[in-house]
């Protein structure tokens, strides 16, 4: 296990970071050379490399600069500070979670009704599938601005976008989950004279659990993207999206990268948490392999 995945992953990660450092030199050296020329200094190659790693506003900040900024903005700052990434991360996380919970609950409910009603199945399901090919995210600015104009701002509009984005993956995933029991199993329950309700609770629900977690993972990643994009149209108020936008207004590249990594860490821990829940649940249900 250790050498089979850990070593290759570490190698590839090291290659990515090495490539990043090379790109830092390539992208930032123009500025360094320009500065040197203005003050009439000849620079050695070593000096150029050293300078590209420590510019204030680099075109591409080096990994350790991003790491330092990330450390600075999470651990060193008080979490109530407007410059703390924990504060902004919390704003985004709360909208994501609220939207995700609403979206996946509604998604499961719609999936239940689609499985039990032929009309819903034939009428709504094609639209649910088609909606996945549509860039729903384009609706985000409109939802934010309209709700703002009727006096709703802050958490709720972002949560609505998040809910909207996690809704359809959950519907589509859960419909296949509820349909995953085989004919043989449904037939067996029929020979037991089981009612539709019993088939649902004793067969369809347990069978859909692996599908539930898979679609929840897709849903929560989509929810986070929705919350981040939902923070853009209001201007840079609060949240990771606002941090990205403020960074791009003022040319603070290191700040953008730090916010980006904070978002990535948040996404990874959310998906990871659901993955953990999945493993625990499936192990308890005896469905793990």
């Amino acid at each position: 296990m250790l050498t089979r995945t850990l070593l290759p992953v570490a190698t590839v990660s090291a290659m990515v970071i090495a490539f990043w450092y090379v790109m830092v030199v390539v992208m930032n050296s123009a500025w360094t050379l320009d500065q040197a020329k203005r003050s009439g200094i000849e620079l050695q190659f070593g000096e150029i490399v050293a300078d590209t790693m420590q510019q204030d506003r680099p075109r591409l900040p080096s990994p350790h600069q991003v790491g330092l900024e990330l450390w600075d903005a999470t651990v060193a700052k008080k979490i109530t500070s407007r410059r703390s990434l924990v504060f902004h991360g919390w704003v985004t996380l709360s909208a994501t979670m609220l939207g995700f919970v609403i979206g996946s609950l509604l998604g499961v409910l719609l999936a239940v009704s689609i499985v039990h009603s032929r009309v819903m199945d034939m009428g709504v399901m094609p639209w649910a599938i088609a909606s996945q090919t549509i860039p729903i995210l384009a609706l985000a600015p409109m939802i934010i601005v309209i709700l703002n104009s009727v006096g709703i701002s802050g958490l709720i509009p972002k949560a609505i976008i998040s809910a909207y984005l996690s809704f359809f993956p959950v519907v589509v995933g859960m419909v296949s989950g509820f349909r995953s029991p085989e004919f043989m199993q449904i037939d067996l329950l029929r020979t037991y004279n089981a009612t539709k309700r019993q088939v649902f609770w004793k067969l369809r629900i347990p069978a859909s659990v692996p599908f539930l977690f898979t679609s929840l993972k897709i849903g929560i990643a989509a929810s986070l993207v929705g919350a981040i994009v939902g923070e853009l149209p209001t201007g840079a108020v609060a949240g990771l999206g606002a941090r990205l936008l403020a960074g791009s207004y003022y040319g603070q590249t290191t700040q953008i990268w730090a916010a980006l990594f904070a978002a990535a860490i948040l996404a990874a821990s959310l998906v990871g948490a659901i993955g953990m829940l999945q493993r625990l649940t499936l192990a308890r249900m005896g469905m793990d392999r």
């Binding site: 190698t11 399901m125 549509i134 309209i146 993207v225 999206g241 990205l244 040319g251």
Partner: protein
């Protein structure tokens, strides 16, 4: 008016129940979702008019259609800017480079084991966040949008392609070896064909991502054209009918792009066990 809308709903529901209770034919498969869609539009129109919802909150479908017809020139310019220049070029570059790198990686099982978990991890991250960085690097033009699309499509495509290339089984590889096939022969005659279902799955996922990337990147800065630009500025001017028309264009573009790749998929990867009926 509200009662009328309710009546339409009940009538349409009744029609659909009648249609659904018959054995499914291709016609009913089309008619039922179509009835449902039309009912939603009629309800939307009826409710908005009956309650006199201001058009700066929700314009009725008729106003959106009118705006669509009146602004076809603007919509076309935006379509070309966002889809053809931004999304399509980025899609081609992102997916193309992912395929090439997957073929390179496939030669080394060690690299493959490293790239699969990492690629899966990166594919779940909010990569649209790179948009401000690329806008800073490549300017406001379509190049920065294409770059965001490259970043968004690269990893899902890479993961699918790497999995696809390694999906030939030992027996098939053995037979290539007994034929004394060279690396290139194995690649062209065995690995690429078995990779097709995975590759096309990746290409399908990336169609939606490409359009999202191109639109969202425009929120961070763009020339005075493009779907994302139009949506964010017209929302500010409260011209919501034009915003909705733009969203209709995005929806049509997204689903036809996906549909096109699905058509190609059905032509190329028809043999895969998951297609068996």
């Amino acid at each position: 008016m509200l009662g009328l809308a309710g009546g339409v709903w009940v009538l349409a529901w009744w029609i659909n129940v009648r249609l659904a209770s018959r054995p499914a034919t291709p016609l009913t498969r089309l008619a039922i979702p179509a009835t449902f869609g039309v009912t939603i539009l009629v309800l939307w129109e009826g409710v908005v008019r009956a309650l006199e919802v201001p058009s700066v909150i929700l314009p009725p479908p008729s106003a959106i259609a009118l705006s669509f017809a009146r602004n076809t020139d603007i919509l076309w310019i935006d379509f070309v800017q966002t889809f053809v220049r931004g999304a399509l070029s980025g899609y081609a570059m992102g997916c193309g480079s992912a395929i090439l790198i997957a073929i390179l990686v496939d030669r080394s099982p060690f690299l493959r084991r490293g790239i699969l978990p990492l690629g899966n991890f990166v594919a779940a991250l909010p990569i649209v966040g790179t948009a401000p960085i690329f806008v800073m690097w490549f300017g406001f033009g379509w190049q920065s949008k294409a770059a965001v699309v490259v970043a968004m499509t690269f990893f899902p495509m890479l993961v699918n392609m790497v999995q696809g290339l390694s999906s030939s089984d030992a027996m098939q590889r053995d037979i290539m070896k007994t034929y004394n096939a060279s690396y290139w022969q194995t690649l062209v005659k065995l690995k690429l064909p078995v990779a097709m279902p995975h590759a096309l799955n990746g290409l399908k996922i990336c169609t939606t991502l490409a359009l999202i990337g191109a639109i969202v990147a425009e929120f961070f800065g763009s020339p005075i054209q493009g779907m994302g630009f139009r949506i964010s500025t017209e929302v500010g001017r409260l011209a919501l009918d034009l915003v909705w028309a733009e969203i209709v264009v995005a929806a049509i573009t997204g689903s036809s792009f996906y549909g096109l790749v699905t058509l190609i998929d059905n032509r190329i990867a028809f043999w895969h066990p998951s297609r068996r009926k």
